[in-house]
Symmetry: D2
Subunit: 140 residues, 4 copies
């Protein structure tokens, strides 16, 4: 997806939250460590669940285990100390048991792309077998 397509996408109807880099998230290169972006993406997905009336903690406590089975992350530009950014989320069902979260991170000042990601998830029942819980239909 090109940059203008991405802006279109983000302006339309995806869910998004604003966050700010915290210094402990930066590593010895002075930039946000690679792994931290998965934290940002997860937090945005869980806030997206909340916006649809779903709590990840409550789902977990009821035995609905939503798991990531694949993550693709394209790092466009590093975030640094103090940067403000927006993380967007939209979701689509790609098979009977799988959903994909399309996510972007952009810097608030300038709107530069920071990261694009596709996160594929499914649910496991108590015996560890994949299924598609009723609850997740609220997202689609």
């Amino acid at each position: 997806m090109g940059f203008s397509a991405m802006l279109d996408f983000m302006n339309k109807d995806s869910f998004s939250i604003e966050m700010k880099v915290r210094d402990y998230e930066c590593d010895m290169q002075g930039i946000v460590n690679n792994a931290i972006y998965q934290n940002y993406l997860e937090h945005a997905r869980h806030e997206f669940l909340h916006s649809a009336g779903l709590s990840f903690a409550e789902l977990t406590s009821r035995g609905v285990i939503v798991v990531v089975i694949r993550a693709e992350l394209d790092y466009r530009q590093a975030l640094r100390s103090g940067d403000d950014f927006r993380v967007s989320v939209s979701v689509r069902q790609v098979s009977r048991l799988k959903i994909v979260f399309d996510q972007q991170i952009i810097k608030l000042s300038g709107g530069e792309p920071v990261l694009e990601a596709q996160i594929t998830a499914t649910s496991l029942n108590e015996r560890g077998r994949p299924y598609f819980p009723e609850e997740l239909k609220a997202l689609l």
Copy 2:
């Protein structure tokens, strides 16, 4: 410090920021992991520095290394998924080379105390010797 004293203190003139628990900060007990509170406290201290015109990243890049030499943390009550909270910071100089940050965390709903901390810091020059940088006087 008792609870009402703490409220007085927080209402008066300390710096504070609001944050929200992110699910990846919770451990298998379903509560925020002990170590994460130090992340919260550090982020609040660095935002406090910003409020005084100081950037931790910029200080670091100029060779002004501010280090924690002692931390005392009293955990009053655990934070859980989705909790909103406030982290406050005030500072006092306790010796020629040392400052102490007094910090509290309270839950936004109900104002219950979550954690109280005293974080002692000093600065090291390029040879690793303690000194008190001019810049930090802006905090006092």
Copy 3:
């Protein structure tokens, strides 16, 4: 406790594990971030539990919630990329419901002290009330 007293102590009969700094644990100052030391200490305590036949995960799943209520950490010297170190643990009961873990971190090369800590813990039953579970007696 002075340095030679500490060495005596560590040589005698405390439990300890060896670990190595991982680069993602270092922050923009190029040293291990303050909060990470609490991770190291927790991991050593949980390995100590294992050495006494106790699993933190299993305790948690059975509803035995062991919580830290106070942490005192004295930072003597920073760890850096690649440093090997030893984390020791010993435990003592300080009241009917509280135990204290005395912990030290020393660098393997040279034996220099890195951190000393006293971590006070108790247990909460299902109603969130402190109690002293039978299981923890195995530690004492």
Copy 4:
């Protein structure tokens, strides 16, 4: 890559290290959080650099900034408290400026696959422009 192909691959000549899950790496589902696997992978890559006489910290301090530009992670099975696992790394050059690290995680008991990843990296010079530093040729 199928499972038997993966075993062949790991038995042959890739670099690998053994690690153990630490409880603070587990989230409220009781399994290692998604983002933590990127920590494991990074640590294995940096140990791989060491095995070739390269230190990430030293490269960084000399201004050789190696950055991840794409990560693909396939999660096969979750790690849990106490699990021992092996992380392997091999590297190949895929274009004039890019290298790919092929990485796998398997459980030590049973050898079950946990995660497969392809991590694409490049280097940035002081002006933020990609280049291929002499030093990285030691890896190939």
